[in-house]
Symmetry: C2
Subunit: 202 residues, 2 copies
């Protein structure tokens, strides 16, 4: 069985054997002849998949009334996988969602690493630094690289920790962020776990 | 006497009578014949002002060893104006600086409103919303506009409030941010106050 989570930049597949990614710009979905259970937040890809009967949109199994109308189905699927906790999905955007005793409490959206790095660079060439994921967030910075790193990461850290809940990290940058959220559990297959729960025959 | 604080986008003047701004792209500094005491974080403007003897760079009066090498002189000047507190200077970037009992403790840099709004929009057209400065930051969001607003503002709010200090808001967006930092004192002339302290004959 093949699962696929389609985002703004890539198809993320999970087979029985491994997981792999394909670029949304170059990948041709009609190459795959097996059944694929998928979700997509990418409207353009979504439209093209409607014509392929072996691509099965599993998001129709979701009870979306538990969430909100414009919320990405990937966030919903990750939430389906847990009963209680705070999920950080670190991709091109970072979504942070809270679930308490089976109930979605709400969530927020923060820029991903690449987007935020561009933002600082565009404000001023004096702010064109890589983020330093080894920074000590307990100390107020006294250099430019740490000043933007702290601005990006400590603010997020402070908000997330204020909820005092177990943290689950997922998404392409999960490992990077586990340097900041040291007590977090990393689960790169969280969205797939939610999807599997909703496939009827499993 | 004329004071001028030059940033990435504008010349900000203060005379005895009022304060006013001029665009860095179109303003010709040689039009002004009076003495102007100025600071600048804009290298291009800085270079052109060196040739005008009535433009006097007041940043040379600063004891820069109290700060760090690549720090903007506007941040230093704002800090010169206070003895104790946390300064939020909300412009094209937002700088947050802490001073305790006369000593600079460090600071960080966060994107300004315009830059951050662009960032969300560039990640996905589904995130192309204005920030809602009337949002209730006590509640986790359940709609897209509040989800990006909370991502931008609550994270910053959480970090700033954790210092438990008096907050002074300055910069072009100070009034906007006073909706979020309700207990903050707004002082749009904070940088000028620091500059005045350093002009010898005053």
């Amino acid at each position: 069985m093949l699962l696929c989570d389609i985002g703004n930049t890539s198809y993320h597949f999970l087979s029985e054997y491994d997981d792999f990614k394909k670029d949304v710009k170059s990948f041709d979905a009609s190459e795959i002849k097996h059944n694929v259970y998928y979700i997509s937040v990418n409207k353009r890809v979504d439209a093209s998949l409607n014509k392929l009967p072996n691509w099965i949109d599993i998001s129709i199994q979701l009870d979306k009334t538990k969430y909100y109308e414009t919320m990405g189905v990937d966030r919903m699927m990750a939430l389906e996988a847990i009963e209680h906790g705070i999920i950080i999905d670190a991709g091109s955007a970072i979504t942070v969602d809270v679930k308490k005793d089976g109930v979605f409490e709400g969530g927020f959206i923060y820029p991903g690493v690449k987007a935020m790095s561009e933002t600082y660079k565009n404000i001023s060439s004096a702010l064109d630094y890589e983020f330093n994921f080894d920074v000590d967030l307990k100390k107020l910075p006294k250099n430019s690289q740490d000043a933007i790193t702290y601005g990006y990461l400590k603010t997020l850290y402070c908000e997330v920790m204020s909820h005092k809940m177990d943290i689950i990290l997922t998404g392409g940058d999960a490992k990077k962020f586990s340097k900041i959220f040291k007590a977090a559990r990393v689960d790169e297959h969280l969205v797939f776990k939610g999807m599997k729960k909703l496939i009827p025959q499993l």
